[in-house]
Amino acid sequence: MAITMSPGKSVQIIVNATFENELIRVLDKVGVTGYTQIDARGNGYSGVQDGHSEGETNILFIVLVASELAEVLIESLIDYIKRGYPIVVYTNDVEVLTTNKYGKPTI
């Protein structure tokens, strides 16, 4: 087996924990094959989120996708931002190992 790394995007999405399930529904809908969630705290325009209660906890989602899907994904979040949900999104270029035990594409 040779190393094969494919270029793609890592999309990081920071949301309040109360929005976690909704975001998972969005990810499912746009068709990502996987995602990673990390509990986080933070500060920003919505004030300190110290993680003490669910409503004051952030979740950082990391979603590895091909560039085109990254755009679709971000596009699908705009509506939620308009409705008032605090959602911080940033992306960067990554190389993803495409070899996995399932023989299916990671991105």
């Binding site: 309040n16 924990a17 109360t18 929005f19 909704e22 919505s46 004030g47 110290d50 993680g51 003490h52 209660s53 669910e54 409503g55 004051e56 409705r83 008032g84 949900y85 605090p86």
Partner: protein, 328 residues
């Protein structure tokens, strides 16, 4: 009696927690500890209520449930009207805040129970069912008021009216974790045999007060943290955070004694339920259901103002009120 209530360990631990944050101590509960203790407290109070109810008067239980629903709808509407008076607070914030005041704070209720037990005052168990019942209507009212506000805003700005997806929101109002544990434990307490319950009692009853102290220690810290952000919420909201419990508590005393025929202890507990504001169950629902509202408003109000107000002033005040009203 007034001052004595401040000397029960639960209240003293609340004060200790507040003091710890006041002096900026690094004291901090590990993540999840408060939530875990919270589940325990709900389970314990539910079981206790269930046992008591199994020997209770059925028609009075039904009346209590009906009054719980009425109060659950009535109190947030009063709160909303107060907040919207002269348009001081925008509709989304008013909707989200009033949902908190229609709902209840289990910690305040338990501190009140601790106060009665230490003072040796009898009380009915119906308020426990009412505590369960009052969670849901308040959430519904909050969501409905926000949906109306959303509609009005869209109409005004000429946008198309956004469709609120009710089913996930209502689901949350009825399947809220606190409600499920409380109502579930209540039923289990009613159904299980006395011999079986006896095996569970050392955990759910005997160590209860001590666990409550630990819980209030953390609540004190949280309340003090929120009190730090008081400036941000402004005078109108601070005034609301003190007035609303007085209104709610007074209504609770009247309903308890005149309409439900409770003893002083029971009416006092209903007053506490009506006076208290949720800070565990309702905030996440509002955060998700009314994203337009400013979450720091409702958290600061319910945890930073109304909770300490009730623990320190409300408990002796409403007890006095219930005593005097029942003597009329």
């Amino acid at each position: 009696m007034g001052l004595d209530s401040l000397l029960i360990p639960a209240v003293l631990f609340f004060a200790l927690g507040a003091f710890a944050k006041f002096i900026n101590s690094d004291l901090k509960f590990p993540e999840g500890m408060t939530k875990g203790i919270g589940i325990y407290l709900l389970m314990a109070i539910g079981l206790k209520g269930g046992v008591a109810l199994s020997g209770a008067d059925f028609s009075l239980a039904i009346s209590s449930i009906i009054w719980g629903i009425i109060l659950g709808f009535l109190l947030p509407i009063i709160g909303y009207a107060l907040l919207r008076f002269r348009n001081k607070i925008n509709s989304f914030d008013a909707a989200a805040i009033s949902a908190h005041y229609g709902s209840v704070s289990a910690a305040t209720f338990l501190t009140a129970v601790a106060f009665l037990e230490v003072s040796g005052v009898e009380y009915e168990s119906y308020p426990i069912i009412m505590m369960v019942i009052m969670e849901t209507p308040a959430i519904i009212i909050g969501l409905v008021l926000a949906a109306l506000a959303r509609k009005k805003l869209a109409v005004k700005s000429g946008d198309e009216v956004p469709k609120t997806e009710w089913s996930p929101l209502l689901k949350e109002a009825f399947t809220n974790g606190s409600v499920v544990v409380l109502i579930g434990a209540l039923i289990i307490g009613t159904v299980a045999t006395p011999e079986a319950m006896a095996k569970v009692t050392p955990f759910t009853s005997e160590i209860f007060m001590g666990v409550l102290c630990l819980f209030l220690l953390d609540m004190g810290m949280e309340a003090a943290k929120k009190a730090n952000t008081l400036k941000k919420v402004g005078g109108v909201l601070i005034a609301f955070g003190v007035m609303m419990p007085i209104i709610g508590g007074t209504i609770g005393v009247i309903v308890g004694i005149s309409f439900l025929g409770f003893s002083v202890g029971g009416a006092f507990l209903l007053a506490i339920l009506s006076a208290s504001a949720s800070y565990i169950a309702v905030p996440p629902v509002m955060r998700y259901g009314v994203p337009e509202a400013n979450s720091s408003y409702y958290l600061t109000l319910s945890l930073g103002i109304t909770f300490p107000f009730n623990v320190v002033i409300g408990i002796p005040l409403f007890y006095q009120m219930a005593t005097m009203y029942s003597a009329l």
